[in-house]
C-alpha cells in the first residue's frame, strides 16, 4: 500500500509538462512555470490540450505514477504505462475467474453488496438528518426495496440475478435521489440519471465526479497488477473498464454522490457555473470544475476506519486497499472479497 499522495490535475489549456531532475515542471500557455517534486505525487491527470514530454512520461512510468489524459470534460483518452507494468500471473487468475460464472458471481456479490449497503446508508443518513425536508415515505420506500436486495444477497446468488439486483438497486436509489438535493434552486432539479451527455446540472456534476472516481480506481487496480478492463459484474465490452466499473459500485453513493450533494446543498457550485448547449448537453465552466477537483482532493484526505481491516486510512487510499484485497482474494489469501461498507 502506498501513502496517500497528491494527484496533480492540469486543467489549463496549452500547458506543457516536462521533467527537470526529480520535478514535474508545468509551464502554462502564458509561460509561467510551476514545479512539483515527483515523490509527493501519485498521479498526473491532464484535461484537454495539455502536452507532455516523453522524458516525463518515462519517468512517471518508472516511478509508478499514473499519467492520464482526459478530454477537457473528463472523458478518458489514454494513459502512459511503463515496460514493467503488472503481473501476468495475477492477471491470468483474474481472467480465469472472470470467465467462470460461479467464480465471477462470488466477486460480483461482494461488489453489489457494497453498492446496496452503501446506497441504503446514504438514504438512511438523509432520513436521519433531514426528516423535515424530505418526503420520508418515498425515501423509506426506497430503503425498503434496498433492504430486499440486501436480503437476497445474504445467500449465494447467480451472476444473472446479481446483475438484476444491481440494476434494481441503482434505479431505486436514483428514483429518490432528487429528495437528497435540498437546494431549492430550479437549476438543480433532478429527474433521473442521464449520461452522455448529461442534460442537467446535477448529472453534469455526477458524471464529472464519476470520471475522477473512475480514474483513481483504475490507477489503484493497475498499481496492484490487475487489469481494469476485465470485470466480474460488468460484462466485457471493447473499451470499457469493466473491473474499474465493478469496484466503483461500492464508492459511487457515499463518496461521489455525497460530494456532489454537498457542493450543491452548501451552495459551493452556482447556477451560473453551468451552460447548456444547443443540443441540451450541459457543461460546467473552468471555475466550477476547479471547485469540484479541490473538493474531491480534500475529501480523499478524510480519515476513515476501514471496516474490514479496522485500520484508520485516508479515504483516498480506500481504492488501493480494495484493489489490494481483491488481488489477495484472487490469490486465495482470503476466502472472499470484502467490499468497503460505509458506516
Amino acid at each position: 500500500m502506498k501513502k496517500l499522495l497528491n494527484t496533480l490535475y492540469i486543467t489549463s489549456q496549452g500547458s506543457y509538462l516536462s521533467k527537470d531532475g526529480e520535478c514535474v515542471v508545468v509551464k502554462s500557455a502564458e509561460g509561467q512555470k510551476k514545479r512539483f517534486p515527483v515523490h509527493v505525487l501519485d498521479g498526473v491527470v491532464c484535461f484537454g490540450n495539455v502536452l507532455c514530454s516523453p522524458f516525463l512520461m518515462g519517468h512517471c512510468a518508472e516511478k509508478g505514477l499514473s499519467l492520464s489524459f482526459l478530454t477537457e470534460r473528463g472523458r478518458y483518452l489514454a494513459a502512459v504505462h511503463g515496460p514493467q507494468s503488472g503481473n501476468v500471473l495475477l492477471r491470468r487468475e483474474q481472467y480465469r475467474q472472470a470467465d467462470d460464472p460461479d467464480a465471477a458471481a462470488r466477486v460480483a456479490r461482494g461488489v453489489v453488496a457494497g453498492k446496496v449497503a452503501n446506497s441504503r446508508a446514504v438514504l438512511r443518513r438523509c432520513l436521519r438528518d433531514y426528516s423535515d425536508r424530505v418526503d420520508v415515505e418515498r425515501v423509506q420506500g426506497a430503503v425498503g426495496v434496498l433492504d430486499g436486495c440486501a436480503r437476497r444477497l445474504r445467500s449465494p446468488v447467480s451472476l444473472d440475478e446479481i446483475r438484476g439486483l444491481e440494476g434494481l438497486a441503482a434505479n431505486t436509489y436514483f428514483g429518490v435521489f432528487d429528495e437528497l438535493v435540498l437546494s431549492k434552486e430550479q437549476a438543480f432539479g433532478f429527474n433521473g440519471r442521464v449520461r452522455r451527455p448529461p442534460l442537467d446540472n446535477v448529472n453534469c456534476l455526477l458524471s464529472f465526479v464519476y470520471t475522477l472516481l473512475a480514474h483513481d480506481v483504475r490507477s489503484a487496480l493497475e498499481a496492484v497488477g490487475l487489469d481494469p478492463q476485465v470485470g466480474f459484474l460488468h460484462r466485457d465490452r471493447p473499451g470499457r473498464p469493466g473491473l474499474a466499473l465493478d469496484m466503483m459500485e461500492e464508492f459511487r453513493s457515499f463518496l461521489a454522490d455525497r460530494l456532489v450533494l454537498s457542493l450543491i446543498n452548501r451552495g459551493e457550485v452556482e447556477t451560473k457555473g453551468f451552460t447548456k448547449k444547443e443540443s441540451g448537453a450541459v457543461f460546467m465552466d473552468d471555475n466550477t470544475r476547479k471547485t469540484v477537483l479541490t473538493a474531491w482532493q480534500k475529501r480523499k484526505t478524510d480519515e476513515v476506519t476501514h471496516p474490514f481491516l479496522s485500520e484508520k486510512i485516508p479515504l483516498g487510499l480506500a481504492f488501493h486497499v480494495q484493489a489490494r484485497l481483491l488481488a489477495r482474494y484472487l490469490r486465495k489469501d482470503l476466502e472472499g472479497y470484502p467490499p468497503f461498507f460505509w458506516k
Binding site: 503488472g86 503481473n87 445474504r154 474490514f308 481491516l309 484485497l325 489477495r328 490469490r331 489469501d333 472472499g336
Partner: protein, 209 residues
C-alpha cells in the same frame, strides 16, 4: 535446471527469501514493489559504491559494482566491492565487501547473501574465497564473515527452495511475526488478514437491515 537463463534470479531474491519466502514471492513473482524509508536509504548508501570506480589502497586493489553470477546457485547480481588481497603464494585472493544500512544482524541473512556472492566469484574466477566483510551503516563498522561449510550449505539449500518456489509461482501464505514489523512490504502483504474475521461473516453483517 538451475542456472538456465530463464531460471536465473537476482542475488537480492535470496536475501528476500531468507528474510521471508512470502516477501520473496511478492517481489519476484507478484512484482509488488514498495519504496519506503528503508529501501530508499539503502539506495542512497548504494549510489556511493555503484559508481563502478576501482582503485588501489596499498597492496589491496579494489573494484566496485562488479557483475557476478553462478550457474550452480542460479543467481546473478552485482557485488558492491571486490577487494583483491595478496595471498601467501603471491596470487591475490578476492575479498567481497557488502554495504548495508542499519546494524549487524543476528540472523544469517546478510552473511548468506555475502557468501552467495563469494560462491559466484569462486565459480567465475576458479579460486577459493575464505572470507569477506560487511560494512554496516550504524554504527559504521566492518564485520568479518567467514565462509564456512555451514554458511555455504545454508546458501545452497535456500537457493534450491527459492527456485522451487519460483517454479511453482504460488505465493506462500503470510505468517504474522516479528519480522513483519521491519518488512517493507507489510502494507501490500497484509499479513494479519488470515487472522481477520471471515469474509462471509463480514458480508452478512454489512447486509443486515
Amino acid at each position: 535446471m538451475m542456472g538456465e537463463e530463464a531460471e536465473i534470479l537476482p542475488l537480492s531474491a535470496l536475501q528476500h527469501f531468507l528474510y521471508c519466502p512470502r516477501q520473496c514471492a511478492l517481489i519476484h513473482i507478484e512484482k509488488v514493489w514498495e519504496e519506503n524509508r528503508f529501501t530508499a536509504e539503502g539506495r542512497i548508501l548504494h549510489t556511493r559504491v555503484d559508481s563502478g570506480d576501482s582503485g588501489k589502497r596499498g597492496q589491496v586493489s579494489e573494484d566496485r559494482a562488479v557483475p557476478i553470477r553462478s550457474q550452480r546457485l542460479g543467481l546473478y547480481g552485482v557485488a558492491d566491492v571486490l577487494e583483491m588481497r595478496p595471498g601467501p603464494d603471491g596470487k591475490s585472493i578476492p575479498f567481497p565487501v557488502e554495504y548495508k544500512r542499519g546494524s549487524p544482524k543476528i540472523e544469517p541473512w546478510d552473511r548468506a547473501q555475502l557468501c552467495a556472492q563469494a560462491i559466484c566469484m569462486e565459480e567465475m574466477l576458479d579460486v577459493e574465497i575464505p572470507e569477506g566483510a560487511i560494512f554496516y551503516g550504524t554504527p559504521r563498522r566492518r564485520e568479518k564473515v567467514v565462509f564456512n561449510q555451514e554458511l555455504r550449505e545454508l546458501v545452497q539449500i535456500n537457493c534450491q527452495q527459492m527456485h522451487e518456489l519460483m517454479k511453482n509461482g504460488v505465493t506462500p501464505q503470510a505468517e504474522y511475526g516479528q519480522r513483519c514489523r521491519g518488512c517493507s512490504l507489510v502494507r501490500a502483504c497484509m499479513p494479519k488478514l488470515g487472522k481477520k474475521q471471515k469474509v462471509e461473516t463480514y458480508l452478512l453483517k454489512g447486509l443486515q437491515e
